[in-house]
Amino acid sequence: MSEETKVTKPSSGVLPRLLAAFVIGLILGGLGTFLVQSSQYSAQLSDLQNRVNTLQAAVNALNTTKIYTIGVSFPLTGELSDVGNQWKTVAQMALNDLNSELANENVKVQFKLVIVDDKTQAQDALTAVQSLAQQGIKVVVGPAASSQVKAVKAYADANQILIVSPSSTSPTLAIPNDFIIRTVGSDAVQAEALAKLAFEQGARNVVVFYRDDEYGQAFAQFFNNVFSSLGGKATLTKYATGLPDYASEVAQLSSQVKAIGADAVVMISFDTDGANILGHAKDDPTLSSVRWFSSEGVHGTTQLLSPEIATFIRKVNLLGTRPVFKENPVYIDFAARYKSLTGRDPPVFAANVYDSIILVGKAILLAGKYDGAAIRAAMFKVASNYYGASGWCILNSAGDRMYQDYAIWTVSSVNGTYEYQDIGSYSGGTITWG
């Protein structure tokens, strides 16, 4: 009978189980520490092996080709999938260029890309970088959005994985001595360029229509600072990101422009939202009667070249800034090749993606070994003498691009079709036309 009572009333309470869990945890912990340490030993061993291998490689001389893998974390799906998928093509172009250059110079090194989708999500970016790092990769190009870069920062710093983001522009990531390198100029300069451009074009009372994310928020703030110091008045209006359509926002914008009697709209957007906003603005009489200015986000979308939107752009004389060194032969060559490959102009930050891959490749070569810290140090050296598709890539102490020149772009009609054109440049604080 005593067994019976034991069945109905479980004798073990919570405490013994917790204790058991604790003991199991301890055992697991010991085991894990052992594993970690043994993996360290094995890492040392493999380091030794590597050295032997390099020695052997040196002895065997030029017969073997060494292959380095560069990790890439791009938003192939999710909100930024449009640019992400085009960047993929750009990255492959850069890789081919890099490899063929190395082959031409008879360097027995080749590079390989592993592209992992991060879904434009912070947590997926972290798992993407972790997956790459666990496969022994030390350099990752990407992720795209600042929120994603922040999510991978802690892991990258601790494990010495170099993150090279081609498009993160958030001012809260200008952190010295970390493993984040950003090959794109701070928006502070571009905002200044855009503000000066708008002011020079006669705008005094503008509505800044910006996306409600880190990019838009920072850009609008910088723009407002510069524009007010010049003597203009800027009204900031933000719109939600990730919406499938912006017709309502445009309607609101129109009524606001009418209400405050603004003479220009400054649009700070990405490509899909920007093109959509312009597509709706063309039907609005108020918005067709003021000037428009734009950041680089919408540059390169095919939609802007469609006759109806292009006519609108001509009518409101839309001018935009974009980070590129004007009449840069490397960029012109790059853009032409990209167009022949895909049939369209390079998307936003394409040149930065291209340069990021090339820079990473050269930094690995200079470092001579596949190690995050060494590549990081080499990266600064390589970047200080590198002139690429996006111009001079010199980095400052925070690992961000130091100088960035900007082109002034618009859409104009050439032989009956519409094309993007750079009609001026912004360099060292002044605008030069032509």
Partner: protein
Amino acid sequence: MDVVGFLVSWITLFSIYSILSISLNLEAGYTGISNFGKAAFYGIGAFFAAVISLSAFLMLNGLSYPLYSLETIISMGTLSKQNPILSILIFLFTVVLAFFVSGIAGYMVSYPTLRVGPAFLGITVLSFGELLRIFLRNFQPTGGTYGLAGIPHPFAFIQDPAVKDFMFMLVTLVILAIMYIFSEKFVNSPYGRIMKSIREDEIASLCLGKDVPKIKAQVLFIGSGMAGVAGALLAYYMGSINPDIFVPSLTFEVWAMVILGGLANNKGALLGAGIITFLNRASVILNFTFQNLPIDVNYIRWMIVGLLIVASLLFKPEGLIPEDPKSSFIWNFVEEKEPISLKKRMEETSKKVKFYIKKVFDWFAMGGG
């Protein structure tokens, strides 16, 4: 390949998601509350932990930067390494408090939503989550769209990243174990049987004199609290959070985990979370093996994840581990099955053992033929 690193990172993620799926299982599996706002309570926990630990560190060091500013992120890099005991204390403190903060939020949300009736409870909580997310996006003190970064890792003082991650994994595992044991105890208690009775028939439970809305609210308190703990762990693990992490699709992912593993079964919740997080993490191996396919390998990866969810449901529509019939309240009524006593079971086992021993002896007796 770094197998240890992979396991550590996967198990950490698995533990966080398991806590979520166990909490959802308590609500949806055992009590029949279709909570589609899991992400909201997850987010509340994460933001609470981030805000408290960041401001605690800033305050203790006499700094007064805004929480999301660059200066905070930079100074946190050094501050978090200075005092191990403080880091761990703040971590434990926020994780425990996150339970109550999220739990109270869940309890409060339940008040109006339960009055609506269960059919629309799911969408009501989902809307609440979205409202919260959009609000946080526009709420500057917690960073707005910048989010919060530089959240001090509790083991930041450990130099070796592998050991650091391993310690964190251990902590999440221990918390998961506590949650698991707690919910197992909970659902097998008399209270758990009331929960199941509510799931099976609310009106009947009402007629039995159970205060159904109150019990539902209490379950939501516990479930949301557990989600809050998971959120706090996520915040410390990632070191940065922003409102857009806590989108409704995250909730659906947790639902898929629970359904896949089998509703009303905590083991199933673990299994579901394990399978989906493992698929997400391990399928990246495809990216390394298959390059230059005509279709991007990432798309194939996600397609396989979707297919596997459908396939496993087709294979076992009741989930991989269906609800244990013996512990089910309803089943006992229908089948009128007597639980087998220990004595009987032992007798049966000893009979079996004797049989096999005899067989072995026979085998030897036959000369091993």
